[in-house]
């Protein structure tokens, strides 16, 4: 079994620190009305942005599990 510093810690760091940058970005574009949630097209993009974050989280979790247990 590889050390935790090679398995889950990098993942936590990536989506924790990276997540802070992502969250700041989402707050800025929402507060500045760069993304206007009254518009249908922008609501679609808002969902895409959130989906993208969790898509990559899931990607790394799945591949870490496969590496360890398969």
């Amino acid at each position: 079994m590889p050390e935790i510093s090679h398995t889950w810690l990098p993942l936590l760091y990536l989506y924790g620190v990276g997540g802070i940058f992502f969250l700041i970005g989402m707050i800025i574009i929402k507060k500045s009305k760069a993304i206007d949630l009254t518009k249908k097209r922008h609501r679609y993009w808002y969902k895409v942005l959130i989906f993208g974050y969790f898509y990559f989280v899931a990607f790394h979790i799945i591949f870490t599990l496969i590496a360890i247990y398969w």
């Binding site: 398995t7 990536l14 970005g25 574009i29 993009w45 942005l49 790394h60």
Partner: protein, 707 residues
């Protein structure tokens, strides 16, 4: 096959057969002819650099593959895949964090403000002096990037070349720099006569070829090893993990690469890479640009990660199952070529190598094209304006022709400078480390300046210039004494030959960010000092003295004169002097110079782009036939009914495109709705529209209201 062994690494020469070389040469000629065909779509520098803002998202998304894959090359990721396994993919899968700010901040700003280059943005947002410094830094960045591209290309072809050859009775050694010079000549010729439209279409073709070649190599490798199970079981568990160890080893650790690539690199790639930005600007609208970027990051980058790294993974498995065939000591930068030669038949190997080198050339081409755009916009035009002051330009076409010629000459000179810059990166053990060090060192000041410029209205010209000068000086201190970086290193061990290649990015971003924030928050203090200064009779002389002091201190830091404490105090004094001198000299209107130029006023940017109130209604896309009309005004006339379907008003913007989707917007034009006529299903276009849109008689076009 000839091999030579150094103490640590085994290197290869003369890999491949004459069939492979024939396949490569045929591939290159075909690609060049393909690109040259699209050169005819360049009617001005606008087309040469931006492709005329006309393309569909899918065309740009696929054309970006070759640029992305090329720049994050087969060579360097195969090298890290060979040394450390699947974690070679991590840099392809960490770009999402800055996507909200890119899609809804930077992308609409650059499109709607019609800036032709990043430095132009700095002039509009801050001042001409900020533009000048940004141009210098950006040119360094772009030329360095071209150098990395050439270095990778050189390393890719060297294993295929003999150690030496005979020409006219002379024995000539094949050297890395020699190979790079030959490659540079070929690259320079292509880009000089192609332009952005040619690059987009060549990249589109190469994007497909590249993905095919990468997966072909993967499947050939797996079958050579005896199936996926054998491959999987040969690899140690640590090789299968998708992320590297948090802090070790110094040449490949997660934290360092996160800050170097995930933060500085991602922001640099999305916000600063003019080559990529110009691609997005070539899409027909901001929304199409968003689609292209999203599709690329969600789907194409993960696929690309497999395409570029798999030769290293196969190489690792081969080095375990057959260490005589692939010695574990094989030079990592050569592993791609070595593996491709083992698993592919003659001819197929040539095809894979052609796809690899052509993709790298695409990256270099894009960068050369982008750097030429910076030269034309930020050096040539301002200088021309200065020297031709008062002389009216008689014909736009003559001016365009002259600029196009200047752009071609600039491309040639930039190619040469790119070759020279290779010398700075040659000493690194792998291309990966050279690229990492390059990113960590050159991107932070511009990353901070662009980022705060877009998202922070309070960010002032004195803060941005102080970041460029004071931030860079603090970065240089970190270069002189790597111990400064240790508190930021998360416990990563220092490699004394190349200290903190990656995590240095964290330190550099921190110091640049700190200078930017401190100087911005001390604006009222600076203004108070400047007011006092102005009350003195010799205020001009004082400002000159401040600039002279700053230059002198910067030189002392650059050439490492004096102790660390002496230099550090010098940097503080210098940064203060720069901030005060900038506040004194730059006329800055914080309202006018942020309107439409930050994320907080995008609606205004859109209005400025259109030139009148924006029509946000969503109308239909209609199909019409075109008829020619007299005149050269940029007006397209539709029937009343057609305009109603599109929910368009006179003065709104319209995008007219050949209805055949396969062209992806190549045959299209932007115009303005004119007064309506009565003939439904007909659009009246003038000769200039037809020439720009390259419309074909009898072929239907689509039309949609843009805004």
């Amino acid at each position: 096959m000839e091999t030579t062994s150094s103490n640590i690494q085994t290197t290869f020469h003369s890999i491949g057969s004459s069939t492979d070389w024939i396949v490569m040469i045929v591939y290159f000629i075909a690609i060049m002819l393909f690109g040259s065909y699209f050169g005819k779509y360049n009617r001005s520098t606008k087309d040469f650099f931006f492709g005329g803002r006309r393309f569909a998202w899918w065309l740009i998304a696929f054309s970006i593959v070759a640029t992305g894959v090329g720049s994050h090359s087969f060579v360097k990721y195969s090298a890290k895949g060979f040394e450390y396994g699947f974690s070679s993919t991590m840099t392809y899968i960490n770009d999402w964090f800055f996507i909200p700010l890119f899609l809804f901040g930077w992308l609409p700003i650059i499109v709607y403000t019609k800036v032709r280059s990043i430095p132009e943005y700095f002039e509009k947002r801050f001042s001409p002096s900020a533009r000048f410094l940004a141009t210098l830094l950006l040119l360094l960045y772009m030329i360095g990037y071209i150098g990395i591209g050439f270095l990778t290309l050189g390393k890719a072809v060297i294993p295929m070349l003999p150690e030496s050859f005979e020409l006219l009775g002379m024995q000539l050694d094949v050297t890395l720099m020699g190979a790079i010079m030959v490659i540079a000549v070929i690259t320079g010729i292509y880009i000089t006569f192609g332009g952005q439209t040619a690059v987009i279409f060549t990249d589109l073709l190469q994007g497909f070829v590249l993905l095919f070649a990468g997966f072909l190599l993967f499947f050939l490798g797996i079958s050579y090893l005896g199936g996926f199970d054998t491959f999987w079981n040969l690899l140690p568990t640590a090789w299968k993990l998708p992320l590297a160890d948090l802090t070790k080893p110094p040449d490949f650790n997660f934290v360092g690469i996160f800050w170097q690539d995930g933060v500085a690199g991602s922001v640099g790639f999305l916000f600063m890479n003019m080559g990529l930005i110009m691609r997005f600007m070539a899409t027909k609208s901001v929304d199409e640009g968003r689609k292209a970027a999203t599709f690329n990051i969600l789907f194409m980058l993960p696929l690309s990660a497999v395409v570029v790294g798999n030769a290293g993974w196969i190489g690792k498995a081969l080095s375990i199952s057959n260490p005589e065939l692939v010695p574990p000591t094989t030079s990592p930068d050569q592993i791609f070529v070595v593996v491709a030669n083992i698993v592919a038949l003659p001819g197929v190997f040539g095809f894979i190598m052609a796809a690899l080198t052509a993709a790298l050339m695409s990256t270099v081409d894009t960068l050369i094209n982008a750097t030429a755009a910076i030269y034309i916009n930020d050096i040539y035009r301002p200088l021309e304006k200065l020297f031709r002051k008062g002389k009216e330009e008689k014909q736009q076409r003559i001016k365009d022709k002259r600029e196009l010629a200047a752009a071609r000459w600039a491309s040639a000179v930039i190619t040469a400078l790119g070759v020279v810059s290779v010398l700075a990166f040659k000493s690194f053990p792998t291309v990966y480390e050279a690229h990492g060090y390059f990113h960590s060192t050159l991107t932070p000041p511009l990353v901070i300046a662009i980022f705060l410029g877009i998202f922070w209205k309070k960010f002032t010209p004195s803060a941005v210039i102080s970041t460029f000068v004071g931030g860079v000086a603090l970065m240089i201190l970190g270069l002189h004494d790597a111990n400064l970086i240790t508190p930021f290193a998360h416990g990563i061990e220092m490699n004394h030959a190349h200290p903190y290649s990656y995590i240095r990015a964290f330190y550099n971003l921190f110091v640049c960010g700190a200078v930017a924030v401190i100087v911005t928050y001390s604006t009222s203090l600076q203004e108070g000092l400047v007011a006092k200064m102005r009350r003195k009779s010799n205020h001009k002389q004082i400002s000159y003295a401040l600039i002279a002091v700053a230059i002198a201190i910067f030189a002392l830091v650059l050439f490492n004169v004096g102790t660390f404490i002496f230099q550090f105090i010098g940097v503080v004094i210098m940064t203060s002097a720069v901030a005060i001198a900038t506040t004194y000299t730059v006329k800055y209107d914080p309202i006018a110079q942020t309107e439409g130029l930050t994320v907080w006023s995008l609606a205004k940017a859109k209005e400025m782009f259109k030139g009148s109130k924006v029509n946000d209604e969503e109308g239909e896309l209609i199909k019409v036939e075109w008829k020619m009309k007299e005149g050269d005004d940029d007006i397209a006339n539709f029937s009343k009914n057609d305009m109603a379907k599109m929910k368009a008003n006179v003065g709104d913007l319209v995008y007219i495109c050949d209805a055949r989707k396969i062209y992806g917007g190549l045959k299209s034009v932007h115009s303005v709705f004119g007064e309506p006529h009565e003939e439904d299903g007909i659009v009246m276009l003038n000769n200039e529209h037809l020439l720009n849109g390259v419309f074909v008689e009898g072929k239907t076009v689509t039309a949609e209201m843009e805004m």
